[in-house]
């Protein structure tokens, strides 16, 4: 088994807003259906709540923060799933069931295994 991080990119929305309740329920269904494959998952607040942190120079340098997400994109990073799958084909098959895959996109990244 290998681990993959599935990052969901969708419209930058407030998932608590009532108009997204039905959509959020779709994610819950996915979460239940693939519970044995999901190691961890999270839904994120909108990018308006994001803060980028940088330290100038080296460790211990001045902490500089800026408001907003690291990358301004049309579709925003809105959540993630840490998945267990035997290979990329299996990971793609699971990712294709995440509601973000339609209407948005899911980026599947293999997780580096500890040596």
């Amino acid at each position: 088994m290998a681990q993959y991080l599935a990052l969901t990119y969708t419209a930058d929305v407030d998932w608590y807003a009532p108009e997204h309740a039905a959509e959020l329920e779709e994610y819950r269904v996915f979460g239940r259906d693939y519970a044995d494959r999901i190691t961890a998952s999270a839904v994120l607040h909108p990018t308006g709540t994001a803060t980028v942190v940088r330290v100038t120079g080296a460790r211990g340098g001045e902490v500089v923060t800026t408001d907003g997400p690291y990358a301004e994109t049309k579709e925003a990073l809105t959540g993630y799933y840490l998945l267990e799958a035997e290979d990329l084909d299996a990971a793609i098959a699971i990712a294709a069931q995440i509601p973000a895959a339609w209407g948005g996109a899911v980026e599947v990244r293999p997780v580096l295994r500890a040596k």
Binding site: E86, D87, L88, D89, P110
Partner: protein, 412 residues
């Protein structure tokens, strides 16, 4: 570097590519298997001219490559457990070459891995040339018009993705095969297309990418005889290849379809291409795929005894179908040419209006305008068509046309 005309190097390269497929499965690592086959091939090329070609070159290369793979895995001590297991396995296994059935399955696995849709399209083409055709990195770079270091880097990144993301070394399940085959056929078609540019351009490449694409097309067709798409893509390649020699004159200049010597077309390839197309269409239930339609267009041209006998109305109909399943500016441009032949230049020019302009668009429009005697406009368009990049023969051809029209507009 293997040369096209060196039969020994050809044998080593083709056998090497065949061995690689099985070795990848045994070793579990594409890079190690590639390096092992390459080292074994180098030994063969060094020894065989001196000692003579062994009775069973395939067996010889299999044993040599397996030994090299074991050496490489031992050298790299920090290998994962799976690959250490592979060493033990290989040492225990019999040194005989695996039976044909096993090799065929391995070849299919390698084809589907190299053409996995999770890889970038140009990376698939490069990897196919390297692993399925057994070309050197320098040769792959030459075919794809890039430098050797850039190609080496590209191939390394691609192999790293296969390993890190765990792209499986497996033939897809029956339900997934049609979708995955589209990617494989796309690679074979792109490879053939890549073979055209260097052939016509000034750079001499010692690899015939068109021949390599046809060889791969034949292999895929042989491995999956019941699938319609491999038959269709092979039909398209053969019907195109049949006319290749007639497309240029001895000086390397372009000969237009209307002026080609149809006697120089390869009738054996045409017959094979048409038979493959018919068989592919018989196996297709619903809508024809883009390769079937393009092959059908090529077959229409091949069947016409002369340019004037071409069934242009049928060709327009086929382009219309092609544009519904696979719209592209190139197909729309070719359709406009067919419309001009079927219904006159005015209809052709009207069809062109719906196509986004590019250098080829201007060249086509110039030809149609000149046919109507509108030489001043034709000269302006052909001049615009010369602004972009094109092969040297294509440039010479357009410049020649411009000179002809200049002369005729003075006479008028």
């Amino acid at each position: 570097m293997t040369a096209r005309n060196d039969p020994l190097a050809e044998t080593v390269r083709i056998e090497g590519a065949r061995i690689l497929a099985t070795l990848v499965r045994t070793v579990g690592n594409l890079q190690v298997a590639e390096d092992a086959v390459q080292e074994a091939a180098l030994v063969a090329l060094r020894e065989w001219p001196r000692t003579g070609v062994p009775d069973e070159p395939r067996a010889w290369l299999t044993v040599a490559a397996r030994r090299k793979a074991i050496d490489i895995l031992r050298r790299e001590s920090a290998r994962a457990d799976k690959e250490r297991e592979a060493v033990d396995l290989m040492e225990l296994s019999s040194p005989d070459p695996p039976p044909d059935g096993v090799v065929r399955d391995d070849q299919l696995r390698l084809i589907f891995t190299c053409c996995h849709p999770a890889l970038a399209p140009d990376a698939r083409v490069a990897l196919a040339l390297r692993t399925l055709c057994g070309l050197s990195v320098a040769q792959v770079a030459a075919v794809l018009l890039t430098t050797e270091p850039a190609m080496a880097k590209r191939l390394t990144r691609t192999r790293q993705k296969i390993t890190a993301a765990r792209i499986p070394y497996r033939v897809p399940s029956d339900v997934d095969i049609p979708g995955r085959l589209a990617a494989v056929c796309g690679v074979i078609h792109a490879l053939y297309t890549a073979g055209h540019a260097p052939l016509e351009g000034p750079a001499a490449v010692d690899v015939d990418a068109c021949a390599e694409a046809i060889r791969l097309g034949r292999l895929l067709r042989e491995l999956l005889p019941d699938e319609p798409m491999p038959a269709a893509v092979l039909a398209l390649l053969l019907l195109t290849e049949a006319r290749r020699a007639a497309r240029t004159d001895p000086a390397g200049d372009i000969v237009r379809l209307s002026e080609q010597d149809r006697g120089a077309w390869d009738i054996v390839l045409i017959a094979e291409g048409c038979a493959l197309l018919d068989e592919s269409l018989r196996r297709t239930g619903g809508v024809a795929d883009p390769y079937q339609l393009q092959a059908a267009i090529a077959a229409e041209h091949a069947r016409a005894v002369g340019y004037d006998h071409t069934d242009w109305a049928e060709i327009v109909r086929l382009y219309d179908l092609l544009l519904t399943v696979a719209p592209s500016p190139a197909a729309a441009l070719s359709r406009a040419v067919a419309v001009a032949e079927a219904s006159g230049t005015a209809a052709g020019l009207a069809a062109l209006d719906a196509v986004p302009p590019g250098t080829r668009w201007y060249a086509v429009r110039a030809e149609l305008l000149a046919r109507d005697g509108r030489f001043a406009e034709a000269m302006a368009d052909v001049t615009a068509s010369l602004a972009g990049e094109m092969t040297a023969p294509e440039r010479r051809y357009r410049e020649r046309r411009r000179a002809e029209w200049t002369a005729r507009s003075r006479d008028a």
